[in-house]
């Protein structure tokens, strides 16, 4: 089960190289599906990076994602692409710092509600600004980025989010987060700056979400606040991460793949009942597999191993 490190690295490199070839062979529909998969992989893994160890359920995903989208819509035409990404990153991380410092003292359900409210607030602010100041509700996204390039950028983000997760796991921050997840009181009394650890992780998670939004922006030729800050995105990411399992780095992906396909199917066939259906999917998941697919797979694996002499 546990392979030596060089084997793992080579294996991962080969897998990434193969995934990088997808735009060369896939038709338009498949590439679009692959982009959806990568988009949710980045978002759900970034979500679990923070919410897994801290057990804070955040519904602010789309606030950061939307900020990424809007930064591109506003600045994409006037600045060089790397600079646009950097600015988006800066805005997302600063917002995360402010939210983190002001809310991570909240616990449980208050945090959930606050993050949900926050995403709505950002959407309302952007709407207000567009209507009253720029006098347009929508914007056209003019940037010179091909669909293939979007895919490759998302793949790079996915690699980075996994690398970040692996590095954290091996670091003192990783141990701090596990201690916090187990018992915050103990964490404080062994010298862990609990607030700093949580805020740092929240910022890192938000950084990936913001960049993901920025990279995805050129997928739309036209955006408005309802598209960029669609709250359903936050719920989808949450469901995917929970289905896959947040206690493992690879967990969320296991939820992303089946649910992206399911949501695609539902949206195509039952567009009017989509929200209700994902609500039902959410409840079923939480009841049936509380530890996610990753937890289920581990249990099965342990049973298989146990059955052998």
């Amino acid at each position: 089960m546990t392979l030596p490190l060089p084997v793992k690295i080579v294996g991962a490199a080969v897998a990434v190289a193969m995934l990088a070839c997808v735009p060369l062979v896939a038709d338009g529909y498949r590439l679009s599906l692959a982009i959806g998969l990568l988009n949710y992989t980045v978002l759900a893994t970034a979500w679990a990076l923070f919410s897994g160890p801290t057990r804070y359920v955040s519904l602010a995903t789309v606030a950061f994602f939307g900020i990424g989208v809007y930064t591109v819509a506003v600045l994409g035409e006037v600045l060089a692409w790397p600079l646009v990404l950097l600015i988006a990153l800066g805005i997302g991380v600063v917002l995360a710092l402010i939210i983190g410092l002001s809310t991570l003292r909240l616990s449980g359900v208050y945090f959930v509600i606050f993050t949900f409210g926050l995403a709505e607030l950002v959407r309302q602010l952007v709407t207000w600004f567009e209507v009253n100041k720029t006098r347009t509700l929508g914007r056209y996204v003019f940037v010179d980025i091909t669909t293939d390039q979007i895919y490759w950028q998302l793949l790079a983000l996915a690699v980075m989010v996994f690398a970040a997760g692996l590095l954290i796991r091996r670091s003192r921050l990783g141990l701090a987060l596990r201690v916090i997840g187990d018992d915050e009181t103990v964490a404080r009394h062994v010298g862990i700056n609990v607030t700093a650890a949580k805020v740092a992780l929240f910022m890192l998670s938000a950084a990936f979400m913001t960049l993901c939004g920025a990279v995805m922006a050129p997928r739309w030729s036209y955006i408005d606040p309802a598209i960029a800050f669609n709250p359903v995105t936050s719920f989808q990411v949450l469901i995917m991460a929970l289905l896959g399992g947040v206690h493992r780095l690879y967990g969320p992906v296991l939820g992303v793949v089946p649910l992206t396909l399911l949501f695609e199917f539902l949206l195509a066939n039952f567009p009017n009942h989509f929200s209700i259906l994902i609500g039902i999917a959410f409840m079923l998941i939480v009841y049936a597999i509380p530890n996610g697919i990753a937890g289920l797979a581990e249990k099965l694996w342990a049973r298989v191993k146990g059955a052998r002499p």
């Binding site: 003192r172 141990l175 201690v179 009181t185 964490a187 404080r188 009394h189 062994v190 609990v194």
Partner: protein
């Protein structure tokens, strides 16, 4: 005595609503001393430890560590200054192994130990508290006494100058109690000062240099164990007829 005491508590006060849980408490601990904090249930002993360790903020009064005021600081800052504690209701980290529990104390406290050396130090500490060779065991599999040992190892991992023990010896059988007393005594040999909340009289008599007795948040007696345990006011407090 020119050096300031390791711990000097003065006028420490904490209210919960109308209740004054700790009421103008004075307390001094010198380097290497073992001080007993006694008193009937609800007299404010745990609250006093919470105020010293930063888990609670005082309404009034001061706590000085080596002459520096620490009252109201965040608990992680107080821990990093060398104050470690255990909890009245034992707290071990449930998703981790014994070794990882101790690593948690090594990595963030006064030492920032990390890596291979930290692993070795963790195993040394486990041996110290009588959990030799149990580093890989999950904490959920430990008995109550072993959980208490582990909690102590995690506190020692901070390399504290002051150790706060909240009824650490409670609930042990006679054999375990003797081992526990010896273990605490051996810590004094390392120069660690200990402030221990305790009800076990044998332990108090054999370990403590001095005792402070609390009742209803106030200090009602201070002195050697035999002196305070013979004090009429202390006896009255324990018999619960202070209103008589």
């Amino acid at each position: 005595m020119n050096a300031p005491p390791l711990l000097a508590v003065q006028g420490l006060t904490r209210r919960f609503g109308g209740l004054v849980a700790v009421d103008g408490l004075d307390l001094t601990v010198f380097k290497g001393e073992i001080i007993g904090l006694l008193g009937p249930n609800g007299s404010g002993k745990t609250t006093a430890l919470n105020l010293i360790s930063g888990a609670l903020k005082p309404d009034a009064g001061t706590v000085a560590l080596r002459g520096d005021f620490i009252q109201g600081l965040a608990p992680f800052r107080i821990a990093r200054r060398g104050v470690a504690r255990t909890f009245q209701l034992v707290r071990v980290l449930g998703s981790m192994t014994c070794r990882e529990n101790v690593l948690a104390g090594l990595a963030f406290g006064t030492r920032n130990d990390w890596g291979v050396r930290a692993d070795a130090n963790a195993d040394d500490l486990l041996q110290r508290v009588g959990l030799v060779g149990r580093g890989g065991v999950m904490t959920a599999e430990l008995t109550y006494i072993d959980q208490k040992r582990l909690e102590l190892a995690r506190a020692l991992a901070l390399r504290p100058d002051l150790l706060l023990l909240d009824e650490w010896l409670a609930g042990l059988n006679p054999t375990e109690l003797l081992q526990g007393i010896e273990l605490v005594r051996s810590l004094r040999g390392d120069g660690i000062a200990i402030l221990m909340v305790e009800h076990v009289m044998d332990a108090i008599r054999s370990l403590c240099d001095r005792c402070v007795v609390m009742n209803a948040g106030r200090r009602i007696a201070e002195g050697t164990p035999s002196a305070v345990l013979a004090d009429p006011e202390v006896i009255r407090a324990y018999l619960g007829d202070e209103d008589a």
